[in-house]
C-alpha cells in the first residue's frame, strides 16, 4: 500500500481491489453484535476538518472507533484560506501530540497534498475531500457499492468493474466526487460518461479517461449505474444554467427517465440530495437508489483504508510484485 491516500488517481487496480476486498471483510464486523476490532488500539487519529461536513466526519469517526483507535476531532471552520498559516501550524501541533494519522477535509484543492509533502508532518494523510479536487474514499465507497450491486457481494471479491458503464450527471466542474470517480472507475476498467450542461464541464476535460455527453436521455439506456452529482442552487445565479426548471428538465432524474435505464441499473447519489431539481422523490425513494447503502458502505471503506494504511499490512501473496511505486 501507499503511505498516504490523497487522490484516487494514485491507486493502482490492485490497490483498489484490495481496498474493496478488505472493506467486505470490514463490513462483516458491522453485522456482529459487537462492532469493534482491536486493530488500531493505542493509535491516535485526528479528523482535521477545515470545512464542515458532518456526514463525512461521522463516517470516518465510526470507522476509526470500530477499529479501536483514539479519535481527536479538530474543526477549524473556514479559518485556513484567509489565514494561510493555520494549516501548517495545526499540522505541527498534531505532530507534536504524536498523532498517528490525519484525516483532512479542506476547502482548498491541494491542501492534503501539501500537508503530506511539505515536511510539516510525518503521519499518513488521508484526504477526506479537498476543494474541487479529490475525495478518494467517496470514490472507493461508490465503487464498492457498484461492485456489490452489479456483480455481487461474494462473487465480486477480487474483481474490478471491467466493462461496466457508469454515467455521472451534474456539476462536474465543481465536483471532487466526479474527479475521484472518473479516475478510480477508469482504473477499475469501467467505461465512464459524464453528462452535464457544457458550462459545468471543465475546460481540459478532453484529456480525462471518459466520454462527455450533453444528452442524458441518449446515455441512460446504456448505463449500468447513474450517479447524480450535487448541483448547488447558487450556480444558477452565476449563470451556469438559466433556471432550476430548465436544469431539471434536461439533467434531472425522474421516474420517466429512470424507466429508460436497463432493468438492473442502479441510481447513486453522494448526498445530500437536492430533491426536485436533480432527482425526484420517486427516484430517490425507489429501491434502485443506493444512497442509504452508500452511507453504510462508507464506513466499511474507511475502515479498510485506515486498516491498510496503519495496520501494518503484509501482502497476502508476497510472490506477486506490486506496482504502486511508480
Amino acid at each position: 500500500m501507499m503511505r498516504h491516500l490523497i487522490s484516487a488517481a494514485d491507486l493502482t487496480r490492485d490497490d483498489a481491489v484490495l481496498i474493496l476486498d478488505t472493506a467486505e471483510e470490514m463490513a462483516r464486523v458491522a453485522d456482529r453484535p459487537i462492532k469493534k476490532l482491536p486493530t488500531l488500539r493505542g493509535r491516535t487519529i485526528c479528523n482535521l476538518f477545515f470545512e464542515d461536513s458532518t456526514r463525512t466526519r461521522i463516517s470516518f469517526e465510526a470507522a476509526e472507533k470500530r477499529l479501536s483507535a483514539d479519535v481527536i476531532n479538530f474543526a477549524a471552520k473556514g479559518s485556513s484560506v484567509s489565514k494561510g498559516e493555520s494549516l501548517k501550524d495545526t499540522a505541527q501541533t498534531l505532530e507534536a501530540m504524536g498523532v498517528d494519522a490525519v484525516v483532512i477535509r479542506h476547502s482548498a484543492s491541494g491542501a492534503p497534498y501539501r500537508l503530506a509533502t511539505s515536511g510539516w508532518i510525518d503521519a499518513p494523510v488521508i484526504n477526506a475531500g479537498d476543494g474541487t479536487h479529490q475525495h478518494p474514499t467517496q470514490a472507493l465507497l461508490d465503487a464498492f457499492t457498484m461492485r456489490r450491486r452489479l456483480i455481487g457481494r461474494d462473487t465480486g471479491l477480487g474483481k474490478d468493474l471491467a466493462g461496466k458503464r457508469i454515467t455521472l450527471v451534474g456539476d462536474v466542474l465543481h465536483s471532487r466526487v466526479a474527479r475521484s470517480n472518473v479516475d478510480l472507475l477508469h482504473t477499475l476498467g469501467a467505461e465512464v460518461t459524464l453528462v452535464a450542461p457544457p458550462t459545468l464541464v471543465p475546460v481540459g476535460v478532453e484529456t480525462w479517461p471518459c466520454e462527455v455527453s450533453y444528452d442524458l436521455d441518449g446515455v441512460l439506456p446504456k448505463s449500468d449505474a447513474v450517479m447524480m452529482l450535487r448541483v448547488q442552487r447558487e450556480r444558477m445565479n452565476a449563470a451556469f444554467f438559466p433556471t432550476e426548471r430548465e436544469y431539471s428538465r434536461r439533467y434531472g432524474l425522474d421516474g420517466e427517465r429512470m424507466a429508460k435505464m436497463p432493468e438492473h441499473a442502479i441510481v447513486m447519489h453522494p448526498g445530500p440530495m437536492v430533491r426536485g431539481m436533480e432527482i425526484t422523490a420517486e427516484v430517490a425513494d425507489s429501491d434502485r437508489c443506493t444512497v442509504v447503502e452508500q452511507v453504510a458502505n462508507g464506513v466499511s471503506i474507511r475502515m479498510a483504508v485506515l486498516y491498510l494504511l496503519l495496520g501494518g499490512y503484509e501482502p497476502a501473496t508476497p510472490a506477486t510484485p506490486r506496482t504502486e511505486e511508480n
Partner: protein, 428 residues
C-alpha cells in the same frame, strides 16, 4: 573618481575589446588600451552589455518592508546586472501622488545600487475609478513616464481610454495588466488540462487576450501608446503581432518565468509556482520565445514580486501570487533564448536594456557601449553553470521557482555611472 579598464570583454557578444571607464562615463572603447592609472578587470570570455533595465519590478516600499525595500530590491537588481528598475505602483500607500513617487525615487538615488524610476498608478488607489494625478507625478522630481495599476487591470474601457489620451501630453505610456476581472474570479492557475485535473480555479487565456485586443484598438483610436505587461499566451502574441502590423503603437513584455516554466509544475501544489498571470502551457512558452526573438514582444521584464516565507509556506489557495526574478532573469534568458539560438547577445542587450529604457524614457540607460556614454554596464560570464540557491539572494524574499535548478551564466560586475555596484559577483 578613478579609472577602470575592462579588458578583453566581448562587447554585446561581438569582438573582444577594452573599455575604459573614466568617472561616470565611458572614455574609450578599443583594443590594446593603456591601463595606466586604471584599475584593471580581466574580462576575457565575458560578455559586456549595457546595464540591464527592468520595466517591471515590485520593490514593496513603502508598506511591505518585510518583503522588500528599495535598498534590498536595488541590491538584488545590481546582483542581477540591472542599473535601472521601474518600481510598480502597488505599494501601501499606492504610488498615486507626487509625494510617494518622489520618496521612492530619492531612496533609489541615496542607496546608489540601481536607479529607481517609479511607475505611477493610473487610478487613485488602484481602484480603477478615478484618474490619479498623472501630470503631477510626471512633473515631480521622479519624472514619471510610465503609469500602471499593475496587480489590477484597468478594466473600465472609458477610464483606459482617458488615461491613454491624457498621458499623450507628456509622452507617457500606460502599462496594462491585462486581466478581465470577471473571467478570472477565483482564478488560481492557467485554465486547461492541468487545472481541470487539480480542481483549481482556472485563469483562461482569453481573459488576457480580450483586454489586449480592446486596448490596442483603444490605443489606435486615440493615437496613443500602450504597453502590455507580462504577456503570457500564444493568443496574446497573435494580437500584438496583428496590432503592430497595423501600425498601432503597442509594446509588450514577457517575464523570464513565462519563457521557461509551464503549468505542469502546479501539480506539486507548491505555491512558489503561483504567479499572476499564471504559468501557461508548453505551446505558450514556445510562442513567447519566438515572439521575443522576432520582436513582436519587445522586452523581458522580471515582474520581480517578493513575498515573505509565510505567504508561500501554506496551501496553494492561501498563498500570495508572485516570484522574485531580478537575480535570475539574465540566466533564464541565456538558457531559453541564447542557448536555443533564438537570440544573440546583442539581441539580449536590446530586449533587456535598450528597448525597456526606450519604452520608459530612461534616457541615461540602454545606451550604446561607446565613448562619451554613461558608464552603465554589466559584465556576464556565460560559461558559468550553477545551481540556484536562494540563500545567496540579496533580495529580502526568497520565493524563487528556480531553487535547486541549474541555470547558466552569472553576472560578475555591474557598473552604475562608473561605480561598481557588483564586483566578482559580490555587492560592492
Amino acid at each position: 573618481m578613478s579609472k577602470i579598464l575592462i579588458r578583453g570583454a566581448k562587447v554585446l557578444g561581438g569582438e573582444a575589446q577594452d573599455v575604459l571607464i573614466d568617472g561616470e562615463t565611458i572614455a574609450e572603447v578599443g583594443t590594446g588600451l593603456s591601463a595606466e592609472g586604471a584599475q584593471v578587470i580581466e574580462a576575457e570570455g565575458q560578455i559586456l552589455l549595457p546595464g540591464l533595465v527592468d520595466l517591471h519590478t515590485h520593490l514593496r516600499e513603502p508598506g511591505r518592508e518585510d518583503s522588500e525595500t528599495v535598498l534590498t530590491g536595488t541590491r538584488a537588481a545590481a546582483s542581477g546586472g540591472y542599473t535601472a528598475v521601474f518600481a510598480m505602483a502597488n505599494t501601501h500607500p499606492v504610488a498615486d501622488t507626487a509625494g510617494v513617487v518622489e520618496q521612492v525615487y530619492r531612496l533609489g538615488r541615496e542607496h546608489g545600487y540601481c536607479d529607481v524610476q517609479p511607475i505611477g498608478a493610473v487610478t487613485v488607489g488602484l481602484e480603477g475609478k478615478k484618474l490619479a494625478e498623472l501630470g503631477a507625478m510626471h512633473d515631480s522630481a521622479a519624472g514619471v513616464t510610465v503609469f500602471s495599476d499593475d496587480g489590477k487591470c484597468v478594466d473600465d474601457a472609458v477610464i483606459m481610454r482617458r488615461a491613454l489620451e491624457y498621458v499623450k501630453a507628456f509622452g507617457g505610456v500606460v502599462a496594462q495588466h491585462a486581466q478581465e476581472p470577471r473571467l478570472t474570479e477565483g482564478a488560481q492557475m492557467n485554465e486547461g488540462v492541468v487545472s481541470a485535473e487539480l480542481g483549481l480555479g482556472g485563469w483562461p487565456a482569453v481573459a488576457e487576450e480580450s483586454i489586449i485586443a480592446r486596448d490596442v484598438l483603444l490605443a489606435e483610436h486615440v493615437g496613443s501608446r500602450v504597453h502590455i505587461c507580462h504577456l503570457s499566451t500564444a493568443g496574446s502574441v497573435e494580437i500584438v503581432r496583428w496590432a503592430k502590423s497595423r501600425g498601432i503603437d503597442v509594446t509588450a513584455e514577457v517575464t523570464p518565468h513565462h519563457l521557461l516554466l509551464t503549468d505542469e509544475l502546479v501539480r506539486s501544489y507548491n505555491p512558489v509556482y503561483k504567479v499572476n498571470p499564471p504559468l501557461r502551457t508548453e505551446r505558450d512558452v514556445m510562442a513567447l520565445r519566438e515572439a521575443l526573438a522576432d520582436g513582436t514582444i519587445d522586452i523581458v521584464a522580471t515582474d520581480h514580486a517578493p513575498h515573505p516565507h509565510e505567504d508561500k509556506d501554506c496551501e496553494w489557495a492561501a498563498a500570495a501570487m508572485g516570484m522574485v526574478g531580478l537575480e535570475t532573469a539574465l540566466s533564464v534568458v541565456q538558457q531559453t533564448m541564447v542557448e536555443t539560438g533564438l537570440l544573440d547577445w546583442a539581441g539580449v542587450a536590446d530586449r533587456m536594456s535598450v528597448k525597456p529604457a526606450a519604452i520608459g524614457r530612461a534616457t541615461e540607460h540602454g545606451r550604446p557601449v561607446s565613448a562619451g556614454e554613461p558608464a552603465n554596464l554589466t559584465l556576464v560570464d556565460p560559461a558559468y553553470r550553477g545551481v540556484v540557491d536562494p540563500a545567496d539572494f540579496a533580495s529580502r524574499s526568497r520565493n524563487t521557482p528556480y531553487e535547486g535548478r541549474e541555470l547558466p551564466g552569472r553576472v560578475t560586475h555591474t557598473f552604475l555611472r562608473g561605480r561598481a555596484t557588483l564586483v566578482d559577483g559580490k555587492l560592492a
